[in-house]
């Protein structure tokens, strides 16, 4: 009798647990649309490639901002390091893109781990300044090491080999496919991680670090781990940009990169993985459209949208989704 009851409760718990991490239909739809876009807009591969890369970059920031609550204003440090690593390595004859991607990941991971101990100190303001400082330092190092990085001229003459037998073409079709697949794979990994006990404890730390420690979660260790993971993801994004554009310049380490990615995650909403992806898409399309309309002043509109968005509530997507759900299912709410 009692064992029967426990067995029922157990089933309930497992069912609930599975529902918490189950794929929602809108997630399937999202990725079907992503795949469809590849075939629907063959003339926009270059733009879509850039969006995929920025989406991955935003995802990496969402991991540390949305899941561990660590705010960074220097995330470009890892993006840039990844880009330069992937670029420089081709100068030494390693032209295989996947090996380049691996090396860039390692470099960004190492930098993430090393700087996590600095970036996790103190308050939000301290963190902002430290992350900003790390990115500035890296920028000037790249600037100074002209013999290696090309300095202000950028890294010229990158020679990236074919990816699994496919040569990168000038329309960006191969590049776009490559970036999208890497984005999708890394997204799947991130999604798994956030639904693991490790991922739950990250959300716990963001919600209430005091209580997280009081149930035995080693807060610092977890933050170091997720900061490093975020750095690794950013490094991959940077490497993709360098490989698919066959170019890396100081721009990949510039402050606007860090600021833009923070903007994208804010636009899309933090802490549910899709925020970075949607934010990158909205940001890039807005940038593309607005800069055609007003080439000089497009940032005015971006700024305006940002202010309205932050003041009007950053959960606009959630509310929009709820509205759509109500409209499409009349009577469901009664």
């Amino acid at each position: 009798m009692t064992t029967q009851r426990i067995a029922t409760l157990r089933l309930q718990a497992v069912g609930l647990h599975d529902r918490l991490s189950a794929w929602h239909w809108s997630e399937y739809l999202f990725w079907v649309l992503v795949a469809a876009s590849y075939f629907l807009f063959p003339s926009r591969h270059l733009l879509m490639n850039e969006i995929a890369i920025l989406a991955l970059f935003s995802l990496s920031l969402d991991l540390i901002l949305g899941y561990a609550g660590v705010i960074s204003l220097g995330h470009a440090a890892f993006f840039g390091l990844g880009a330069y690593t992937a670029g420089i390595i081709t100068k030494f004859g390693v032209t295989d893109p996947l090996i380049g991607l691996g090396c860039a990941t390692l470099a960004a991971t190492a930098l993430g781990l090393a700087t996590s101990f600095l970036a996790l100190r103190g308050s939000d303001l301290t963190r902002l300044m430290v992350t900003l400082g790390v990115a500035l330092v890296l920028y000037e190092i790249a600037n100074r090491l002209g013999w290696l990085t090309g300095g202000a001229d950028g890294l010229q003459g990158m020679d990236v080999g074919p990816i699994l037998g496919f040569d990168f073409d000038i329309f960006g079709a191969v590049a776009n496919a490559y970036s999208l697949i890497v984005l999708f794979v890394l997204f799947l990994i991130a999604r798994r991680v956030v639904h693991s006990p490790f991922g739950w404890s990250l959300r716990a730390i963001r919600d209430n670090p005091l209580r997280a420690a009081a149930i035995g979660v080693p807060v610092r260790g977890r933050l170091v781990a997720v900061y490093t993971l975020g750095a690794a993801y950013a490094g991959v994004a940077g490497a993709l940009l360098a490989q698919t554009t066959q170019f890396a310049s100081l721009d990949v380490l510039a402050f606007h990169r860090s600021a833009d990615v923070l903007l994208m995650v804010t636009i899309g909403g933090v802490g549910y993985l899709y925020g970075g992806l949607i934010g990158a898409l909205v940001f890039k399309i807005m940038q593309d459209t607005l800069s055609n309309l007003t080439p000089q002043y497009w940032e005015f509109w971006i700024g305006l949208v940002l202010v309205v968005l932050v003041l009007g509530g950053r959960d606009w997507l959630e509310r929009l989704a709820a509205l759509v759900a109500r409209r499409t299912r009349p009577g469901a709410g009664r």
Binding site: I6, R19, V193, S196, L210, A213, I215, G216
Partner: protein
């Protein structure tokens, strides 16, 4: 280490502080506190407002570091251990003001504590639910606290009494050998009070409990020994009878309650 000659037979002592001090600027919030909790004891810590009860619990659990003195858990020095290390060594606590994960469900809150305790905290590839022992323990804890029917609801939407129960459930899910309860019934409406008192009374006997409490009914009903903290220092410690008849205690504490 555990054979070090302490004042009493060390194996019987669950938690002990030795000449514990904590200063905040010029204020001595904890003043030479030497407290001893025997294994399996139900010990209450009482004292008027501002006596330093919360500071003491923060020192015991590693939220604060003492200015001087030592803290021993089952004979081992934990004075320098981090808060999460103390939990892993068997010392858990609840909070006077709910410290829950508002956006989560009770299933996740308890589930996290259980997976930490079972050494799966770093598991990043497989889900919490893949492990049968983890799920079994989650269900057992939720069931013991009567939280199964709300396990899928958002914690912030639970009635206050249920939140207080979850507060204790999450601590018990850490499988502590010593449990610090910081005013477990604080702010709970009369109708839901009995649930909390029931749960406190039914805590496993092998768990040593230190109850920090204002409510004298709960203290007399629950505790076997009482320590009295006044102005950061231990005034006295003894059995319920000794404390309730101690004129000094009546003067500083019970007397105050009589008039109030």
């Amino acid at each position: 280490m555990s054979d070090a000659p302490l004042s009493d037979a060390p194996r019987d002592i669950a938690l002990q502080t030795v000449n514990l001090f904590r200063n905040f600027g010029g204020l001595t919030a904890t003043n030479d506190v030497s407290l001893t909790l025997r294994r399996g004891e139900r010990h209450a810590l009482i004292g008027p407002n501002g006596a330093g009860k919360t500071t003491l619990i923060n020192l015991l659990t590693g939220v604060l570091r003492p200015s001087s003195g030592r803290i021993l858990l089952e004979g081992e020095d934990i004075t320098e251990a981090r808060a999460d290390e103390r939990v892993r060594r068997g010392l858990a606590r609840t909070f006077q003001i709910n410290q829950l994960f508002a956006a989560m469900t009770p299933l996740e809150g308890v589930g996290m504590a259980v997976s930490q305790t079972k050494g799966k905290g770093w598991e990043f590839w497989r889900s919490v639910g893949h492990s049968r022992p983890v799920i079994d323990e989650i269900v057992e804890v939720l069931d013991r606290f009567g939280l199964c029917d709300v396990m899928g609801e958002k914690i912030s939407s639970l009635p206050y009494g249920k939140q207080r129960l979850l507060e204790i459930a999450m601590a018990i899910a850490c499988r502590p050998r010593v449990l610090l309860l910081d005013e477990p019934a604080a702010g709970v409406p009369e109708g839901e009070r009995e649930d909390i008192l029931d749960v406190v009374a039914k805590l496993p006997e092998d768990v040593t409990v230190l109850l920090i409490e204002h409510d004298m009914d709960l203290v007399f009903r629950f505790a076997s020994r009482i320590s009295v903290l006044v102005s950061g220092a231990l005034l006295t410690a003894g059995t319920v009878d000794e404390i309730s008849t101690d004129p000094r205690v009546r003067a500083v504490y019970l007397g105050e309650a009589d008039h109030g």
